[in-house]
Symmetry: C2
Subunit: 186 residues, 2 copies
Amino acid sequence: MTPLQKIREFYETKRRMPSYQELMGLLGYRSKSAAHYAVKKLIAEGGIAKDKTGKLVPAKFDAGVPLLGVVEAGFPSAAEEELLDTMTLDEYLVTNKQATFMLHVKGDSMMDAGIMAGDLVLVERGRTPKHGDIVIAEVDGEYTMKYYRKSREKVWLEPANKRYKPIYPTAELKVEAIVTAVVRKY
Amino acid sequence: MTPLQKIREFYETKRRMPSYQELMGLLGYRSKSAAHYAVKKLIAEGGIAKDKTGKLVPAKFDAGVPLLGVVEAGFPSAAEEELLDTMTLDEYLVTNKQATFMLHVKGDSMMDAGIMAGDLVLVERGRTPKHGDIVIAEVDGEYTMKYYRKSREKVWLEPANKRYKPIYPTAELKVEAIVTAVVRKY
DNA sequence: TTGCGATTAGAACGAACGTTCTATATACTT
DNA sequence: AAGTATATAGAACGTTCGTTCTAATCGCAA
């Protein structure tokens, strides 16, 4: 394991950067200054950075996943890759942390919208649905995921699958949450 | 903004916990000890924790997104929520950080597989594809995303859309990456 | 071997740290 | 209004921090 990897592991498990004293043990030195010089190198290489207060701070580390471009364009060369964006999926997908939850999808009623059984959906509670949103709603005591439709005089739910019929709620329609993202892992 | 939120923000932007001196400014005190007592409370409430070395460490903070259950089951009560899993999307979706990248999807050739234009796909390079994998491949100088098919004597690519035809590569088939996940944001 | 640059050990320094103490101010109850 | 608990200010403490210095050690080329 390289020094940088050790430090990264330290940061990710302990959620803070090691002191030079700890680095001394971590990197296998018997003097703080040795660790100090080793870190100096890593900073020069860009693997670690420093605050303006002088405190160590992780640099690239957990910097999410590099975003390359469009499928059809193919893979850029190694040199180009550096220029492109990188993002953490959490930041990208979750806007309102407090109100966001995940649900497993069952059934194929939203298949034509690209939401299959087994997918995970991120949902946000406490928002008022707009026409066209995909929502989690309670109709007559049961929960379903459907398109939310609204015209001048009524509100109904529409599946994204021709084999199912729209639902016109008899009593009230309780929208529990709005689907904000879909995630599928292979 | 509550004190805890301020500290959280500090940690997430600066990637380290503030010192008591910094907390003093952050929370609007004029003495370190006031900040000290304030933090003591937060620790008792569980919002912050301490190392065994005495250093401050974030506690619950970035604890991903709570996973609730299945769509049809609806929303559990507040009490139940605590019992269920919570996960960061990055950890869940990315297995091999080094080799994983993201691509924007263009076109509708994988529509029936639930991958639509505009989606993001996570791809992993350097893995050998299996029959049935969704891959990014270079065929005759162009990049496409298709199902990877393999029989005893040949290898070909198959779209997930009846309007397109399978591709039987004339020369060699270069698989650049395997699609490991799909992500869609509304 | 000799010489030279890079690396490490170990000690030393002031600065910043976390903690604790006392004194003052504030809020709330009786 | 008086009394009591709580919260804050400010100073002080020993400890640890990051940094720097010198000396010893290593690796390698001449």
